[in-house]
Symmetry: D3
Amino acid sequence: MKVTVSRKAHFNAAHRLYRKDWTDDQNENIFGKCANPHYHGHNYELIVHVRGNIDPETGYVMDMKVLKDLIKSEVEEKMDHKNLNEEIVEFSDLIPSAENMAVVIYNWLKPHLDQAHTLSVTLYETPRNYVSYSG
Amino acid sequence: MKVTVSRKAHFNAAHRLYRKDWTDDQNENIFGKCANPHYHGHNYELIVHVRGNIDPETGYVMDMKVLKDLIKSEVEEKMDHKNLNEEIVEFSDLIPSAENMAVVIYNWLKPHLDQAHTLSVTLYETPRNYVSYSG
Amino acid sequence: MKVTVSRKAHFNAAHRLYRKDWTDDQNENIFGKCANPHYHGHNYELIVHVRGNIDPETGYVMDMKVLKDLIKSEVEEKMDHKNLNEEIVEFSDLIPSAENMAVVIYNWLKPHLDQAHTLSVTLYETPRNYVSYSG
Amino acid sequence: MKVTVSRKAHFNAAHRLYRKDWTDDQNENIFGKCANPHYHGHNYELIVHVRGNIDPETGYVMDMKVLKDLIKSEVEEKMDHKNLNEEIVEFSDLIPSAENMAVVIYNWLKPHLDQAHTLSVTLYETPRNYVSYSG
Amino acid sequence: MKVTVSRKAHFNAAHRLYRKDWTDDQNENIFGKCANPHYHGHNYELIVHVRGNIDPETGYVMDMKVLKDLIKSEVEEKMDHKNLNEEIVEFSDLIPSAENMAVVIYNWLKPHLDQAHTLSVTLYETPRNYVSYSG
Amino acid sequence: MKVTVSRKAHFNAAHRLYRKDWTDDQNENIFGKCANPHYHGHNYELIVHVRGNIDPETGYVMDMKVLKDLIKSEVEEKMDHKNLNEEIVEFSDLIPSAENMAVVIYNWLKPHLDQAHTLSVTLYETPRNYVSYSG
C-alpha cells in the first residue's frame, strides 16, 4: 500500500538570473527583468513529496514532524532570507532558476530519506509559476 | 482520450493517534501531541480523482454531480463531525493517520465506480500536510 | 500614520457544542452534529490584527516576529492539539463556539500589547465559516 | 534531468451543456442546471504543464514568459469573455464540458511546443471541480 | 460583545454589461469585452457578514447553519447557473455589475435577519476583483 | 449607496531592512535575518480598495480595468523585479518595511483617483504577514 505524503514549507530569498560569461545585453535579452543586477526576490512555497509503504505499526509512511524538521534544517536554514547567487555555494556557477533550485533541493533532501522512499519536490516561485522534479 | 476528473469535498472530525498495546509514554514518544487522550481534530479537505475515457455522448468522464453525491454518502456522512477512533468501525483497530484514512476512503469509494475507471484520493489533514493514495 | 499589521497562525483542536444544563435532545436540537458527545474537530486559522502608528526608527508598527512569538506562546501552545472543552479552563463553563473562542483569544493577547495599539482577531473555524472580534 | 514547469492562467466564459439532437427534457435530465438555455458561466483557472530537460545554458525547461504569452494568444484570447457554444468553432458540434475543453486546449497548445516536450493541462471549472488531460 | 460572523458561498452565472439605450459601439467603448452580446460568465464567491451580540445561551451571534440555508434559499437558488440579465428580474433594468449585484444580494438578505444585526456582503467576481457593500 | 471595489495585483522585489546610521550588530539585533546585507526578497500581493458611490449610468464605482492599469503603471512598473533599497527613490532614506511600502503605494495612487473616492491598500509580504493603510 504505497502512499505519498506531502509537506509544504516556505522561504524567501533574493536572486537574479544571468550568466557571467554573457554581456549585460545578452543577459537582459534572455532573462529580461530577471537579470536585474540589483536582484529581485520571491516567497518560495516548497512542497516535498515522499512515497513509500505505510508502516503498519505507526500508520505513517514517514513521521511528518521528522519531514518538517528535515526541510527546515536542509532547505529553509540554507535558503531563507538569503541571496541565492551570493550565499548558496551550489549557485556560484549555476543559474538559480526555479528548475535548478528544485534539483538542488532534491539533492539536499534525498540522502536523508529511507532508501525505499521515492522523493519529488514542487517549488512555487510565484503563485502562478511552479516546477516539479522527481530525480 | 483519458481524462482525470477531480472533485473537492470537506469534512471535519476528531481523532487521536495511539496504539492500545503501547503505554502512554510510548504513544507520546512516537505520536507527540497527536496522542493526546482527549483528542484533537482537523478540517479534512478531500480530493477524489477519477480517470477514464470521455463519454462522447455527454462529454463527461463521469457526472460530477454523481461523484459529489457519492462522496457525500460514502465519506462525508460517515466521517463528518465524528470521532474517528470512537465512531468509525474501520479505525477500531487501525490508527486513523491521514495515510490510513486515505486507504479507507479509497476502499469505500472504489466499489461504486465504473470498473473501467481508476481512482485516487488526496487528503489534506492541515493546509500544510496531505497524502495521496491510488490503490 | 496608522497602519494595521496582520499575522496568520494555525492550530487544530477538538471540541463539541453543548450545554451541561440541557438534555441531549435539547443540545442536538440546537447544535446539531456539533453536539456529538464524542467530539469533532477543526483546523483553526487565526489572524491577529494590530493597529498603531509606524515607529519612524524601525518602520514597524510592531515587530512581526514578536507578534508571531506572542501568538505562539499565548494561543497556539494553549490550544493546539487540545480538546477545548476538557483542557481549556476558559471553556469549562463557556461554549467553545468560534465566537466565544475569538473573545477568549482577544483577552489572552490584549494585555501583552502596547496600550496605544488596538487589537482585533479573525478566526476561521472552517474555510467557509469565520468570525471577527475587536474588543 | 527532466523537470515539469507549470504556469497558471485565467479566463471566464459562458456555456451550456446540451445536445442539439436531444429534447429539452432529455437535456435537463442529463445535464441538470447546466443545460439552462440562457447559459451560465465560470471563471476558468488553467494550469499548463510542460515537461522536458533543463537547458544547461539558461537553467530553463522553457522560458515561462514565452509560455505565458503562448497561453495568452492560443487560449485566453480565444476563450476569455466568450460564449463557448456560440463563439468557439470547436464547440459547434462538441459539448463544452470541462473534459472536452481540456482536450481542445491541449490540441491548441501542442503544435507550438518543442517536440521533445510533453504537455498536460489542468482546468478548474469551479474551485471544487477540475479535470486533467495529458494527450 | 459584538462579533461578526462570516459565511462563504458560491454560485456561477452568465451576464453581460450593457445599456439598452446605448449603441453597440457605446457599450463596447465603456464595457469592453464585458459587453459581449453572447454573454460571458463567472464563478461568484460570496461572503455574508452578520454582526451582533453573542447570545450567552448558545455562544452564537447567529446559527451558521441558518445563515447557510438563508444564503442558499435567498441567493444561490435565484442566481446559480442563471443568466443574470435574462432571468433575474432585478436586472431587467439594472446593469448586473458586481457592485449592483452586491446591493441586490444585500436587499434580498436583510429582511430575513434579526433587526439588531448589521449585514454586509462581499462578492468576488474573479479571484482578483471583488466588491463590498454594507447598506 | 457606497460600495468598495477591490483589485488584486502582484509584484516581486528584493529588499533589506536596516538603518545606515546603525552598526551591523544593531541592525541584526533589531531586524534579524531581514537585515542580511546581500538582500532577500518577496512576492508581494497587493490589494487596492476604492470606496465610492455607484455611478448609476455604468453600475461601476470605478472601472476595474482603469484601476488595474493604474496599479500597473503606478506600482508594478516601479517595483516589480526591483531592489527596493537601491532602485526606488522613496526608500533611499526610508526603511522598506511592509508598513512603509503600504504608505508609499497609497501616496502614489491617491492623486490619480477621483477626489470623492476613499482609498486603502493591503499589502501581503508573505502569505502569513500583511499590512493595511487607509491614509
